[in-house]
């Protein structure tokens, strides 16, 4: 009798493990951090790409309803693709765009802006990529929508598309 119970438990455990593994097959095995939503970003200061002045993000975003931080680089191809959406976003009066130039050569970054237009009110340089990490990004491009208290309202990992564009406009018009 005791033996039977052991076997019963063994078969039960086997079936549970089977179910769990079965479910696991259909989950994605790559990891995308989703933690930063509804979190605050740390206040930071960085040098402006054009004026070489040190600028503080809290001061920049203070009076604005929402601020969009776009992490970009001249060497990153998806950044080129999403640039047209950033240019379109510039036309909305509620939207305040700030660029964070990630691990870039300053002269090439300026060239990029000259070629494709400047959607940003201010571009901050992040030559070592440390500020991007502090925000919670891990690659380029990434886009963060924050409020005037530096709370993250939404974040986009990777290239923006027309769908994302609509979402941003939606949040801005709220």
């Amino acid at each position: 009798m005791k033996k039977n119970i052991y076997y019963f438990i063994l078969i039960l455990v086997t079936l549970i493990v089977f179910t769990l593994l079965y479910k696991a097959i259909f989950k994605s095995n790559s990891y995308i951090p989703s933690l930063a939503i509804n979190k605050k970003i740390n206040n930071f200061s960085a040098y402006s790409l054009f004026s070489n002045k040190e600028i503080n993000i809290e001061v920049l975003s203070k009076e604005k309803k929402i601020t969009i931080i776009n992490i970009w680089s001249s060497w990153c191809l998806p950044c080129r693709n999403e640039h047209k959406y950033l240019m379109k976003l510039k036309q909305h009066k509620n939207i305040y765009l700030i660029g964070l130039n990630y691990k870039d050569n300053p002269s090439k970054a300026r060239e990029f802006i000259d070629d494709f237009g400047n959607p940003f009110f201010e571009i901050l340089s992040d030559p070592k990529g440390i500020i991007a990490i502090d925000i919670g990004a891990y690659g380029v491009p990434e886009t963060y929508i924050i409020d005037n208290e530096l709370n993250i309202i939404k974040k986009f990992i990777g290239e923006l598309n027309s769908n994302d564009y609509d979402k941003i406009v939606d949040i801005a018009n709220r």
């Binding site: 086997t14 079936l15 696991a24 097959i25 259909f26 095995n29 790559s30």
Partner: protein
């Protein structure tokens, strides 16, 4: 074209033979017909022949670059060297599964030839179980990963093989590992058959021991090759990363090593029957789980494999089908061992082997839970965590210390009963002597971690004690040399960890780095065109304190198909240290990242593992 057809139909014929054989055998068991053993030989040979034709059909398609075959199209290219065209056959999912099948049919054929002295009923039952496994694999290949799918219109050029797989060690690593896995399937079938036909006895132990040693040697060698490959090809200078795919090959190794030891107890004393069967079942289940975890794409690993849920589902169902069958068979046929002759005295070889099994099970549980826990946790809570080297080290190292001591003491105990009054006290003095030596060594080496110090003491103890046994006693040469090899392995891993030095720097051509008294000069860069890749070769000159100069030439290769960059390390080995250099191009700059490592006693990690395998090999030869 025609060859793909032949290959495909051969597989189907092979599957039909499997079904036929299973029915034939069951008819025999229920007494409807009387089996003729010669027929079995013929059927097995025919089945092997069909799979052989199919496999070599695929090899041939790879050699002639027949891109009407989708497997060839996806994994080959006309400019690839012939050697990698051939090895590309099993460098992909479909081909490697066909190789599994080939080895499965080959091994059961060999098993049947070499088991003539065993009872007929046992042999036929083993065949049933093995044919069930073979049927599973036939269905898997035909339904989810057919290597003979057609493409129309026929492409002119193939997509090429991932360059990191274009490597001699990796060309033979998978086949050897599969031989090990498939060997474990024979042990599995034979164990279940022995259970069903009530044939678990000393003679059976002697007969299955050959297969256990053969499988163990192949598995160990397969793991070693993988490790060597990772060392020079992945370019990080490590040899074991606790990556899930590596762990998966280690798990059956633990149970197989436990089985390797406990089968002797069964052979000598005819006890631990159930436990031996459990270990056999576990070894094969773990080999299969390994295949499942790797092929289903569940794991997040550096080793990328194609991700297809359908395959995962198939293997998972098949795996659990086999596990459930084993449990049920175990339930109905388990032998009762409670007789008076099975007493185990606490100070005996039996106990020491039980202790070995105890630790092996523990090591297995660490690796098993570490590899699968993130998967299970994600399903249950949607939270992703990583389990990496620190986890394994924290749990394994403390337990390795007593394990090494037991490993030194165990082999000197006698079967049935050892007298503790007759213990050789020299060995205890030896221990004190080692501690005394360590005291000075520690000051010299600047080792800070107490655990590491005790670990060194315990492995030195095993080292000296097995060395003494090896030279003076020579009672059990194969076992002595394997244990001695293990102590060298642990010692070289420890000293490799403590004494290795490295530097990573971003430099331009012409720059020099001063590192630990050596001067590393980045002299120049050459570009070379090879058959299927372009090569950027950096020239480094390393001048040591005695002004001796060594040239190292790491490469970056730009493969044409697929277009992938790989870093090739340059390594200069000698018995004392490996000089390992690798460089990479930093994005968007004229600066290169150079990583130079001096890996002490690196070569001993390989040599010692070869010693361990050599020990197994000697025993295998002796059994016959």
């Amino acid at each position: 074209m025609i060859i793909s057809q032949i290959g495909n139909y051969s597989l189907i014929f092979g599957l039909i033979l499997s079904f036929f054989l299973i029915i034939y055998l069951f008819l025999n068991f229920y007494g409807f017909i009387k089996i003729n053993l010669n027929n079995i030989y013929s059927i097995l040979f025919l089945q092997l022949f069909f799979v052989f034709v199919s496999f070599f059909g695929l090899v041939y398609s790879f050699v002639i670059s027949d891109f009407s075959n989708s497997t060839v199209y996806n994994n080959s290219h006309t400019t690839k060297p012939l050697f990698y065209k051939i090895s590309g056959t099993w460098g992909n999912h479909e081909g490697s599964m066909l190789l599994w099948l080939l080895v499965l049919t080959l091994f059961i054929f060999l098993f049947f030839i070499y088991s003539k002295k065993q009872p007929k009923n046992y042999r036929l039952t083993t065949l049933v179980f093995q044919e069930i496994i073979i049927t599973g694999f036939f269905l898997f290949v035909l339904l989810t990963s057919n290597p003979f799918n057609h493409i129309f219109p026929i492409p002119i050029e193939g997509l090429g093989l991932n360059p990191i797989l274009q490597d001699p060690a990796l060309a033979i690593h998978p086949p050897i590992l599969y031989l090990g896995y498939v060997g474990s399937s024979i042990i599995f079938s034979a164990s279940l058959a022995a259970l069903v036909s009530k044939n678990i006895n000393i003679y059976w132990a002697q007969h299955i021991k050959k297969w256990i040693f053969l499988t163990w040697i192949l598995l160990t060698f397969g793991i070693l090759l993988g490790s060597i490959w990772a060392y020079y090809e992945l370019g990080w200078g490590g040899f074991w990363f606790w990556d899930p795919v590596e762990n998966v090959s280690l798990m059956p190794w633990f149970t197989l090593t436990a089985l390797l030891h406990s089968i002797s107890v069964l052979e000598k004393r005819s006890i631990l029957k159930s436990w031996t069967i459990i270990l056999s079942i576990a070894t094969f289940s773990l080999s299969m789980s390994g295949t499942f975890l790797v092929r289903s794409g569940i794991l997040n690993s550096v080793h990328t494999f194609a991700n297809d849920p359908g395959r995962g589902v198939f293997i998972l169902i098949f795996l659990f089908f086999l596990i459930l069958i084993s449990i049920i068979i175990f339930f109905f046929f388990q032998t009762d061992e409670r007789t008076s002759t099975n007493k185990i005295y606490w100070m005996s070889k039996e106990t020491s082997i039980l202790i070995n099994n105890w630790f092996m099970t523990f090591f297995l549980s660490v690796v098993l839970i570490g590899t699968t826990y993130p998967i299970l946790l994600e399903v249950l809570t949607n939270e992703k965590i990583s389990v990496g080297p620190p986890f394994y080290q924290n749990l394994l190292i403390p337990f390795l210390i007593p394990f090494l001591f037991f490993m030194a003491v165990g082999p000197n105990l006698k079967w049935f009963k050892s007298d503790y009054k007759k213990i050789n006290f020299n060995k205890i003095f030896l221990l004190f002597f080692i501690c005394f030596v360590m005291f000075f060594l520690v000051k010299k080496l600047d080792v800070k971690n107490l655990f590491v110090i005790i670990l060194i003491i315990s492995s030195l103890y095993l080292f000296t004690s097995s060395f003494i046994d090896l030279i003076f006693k020579r009672k059990n040469f194969s076992q002595n040399i394997a244990h001695f090899g293990f102590s060298v392995l642990i010692l070289s891993i420890i000293f490799n960890g403590i004494l290795s030095k490295e530097i990573s720097a971003n430099i331009k051509i012409g720059d020099e780095i001063n590192f630990d008294g050596n001067l590393i000069k980045f002299k120049k860069i050459d570009v070379a065109d090879k058959e299927n890749y372009k090569s950027i070769i950096a020239n480094f000159e390393i001048k040591d304190q005695k002004n001796k100069i060594i040239l190292l030439k790491p490469e970056i290769r730009i493969y044409n198909q697929p277009n992938i960059l790989t870093s090739e390390a340059d390594i200069k080995s000698n018995l004392y240290e490996d000089k390992f250099i690798v460089f990479s191009i930093l994005n968007r700059e004229e600066i290169f990242n150079v990583r130079y490592q001096v890996k002490r006693f690196m070569i001993w990690i390989w040599i010692s593992t070869f010693l361990i395998i050599f020990g197994g090999l000697i025993r295998l030869i002796k059994i016959k």
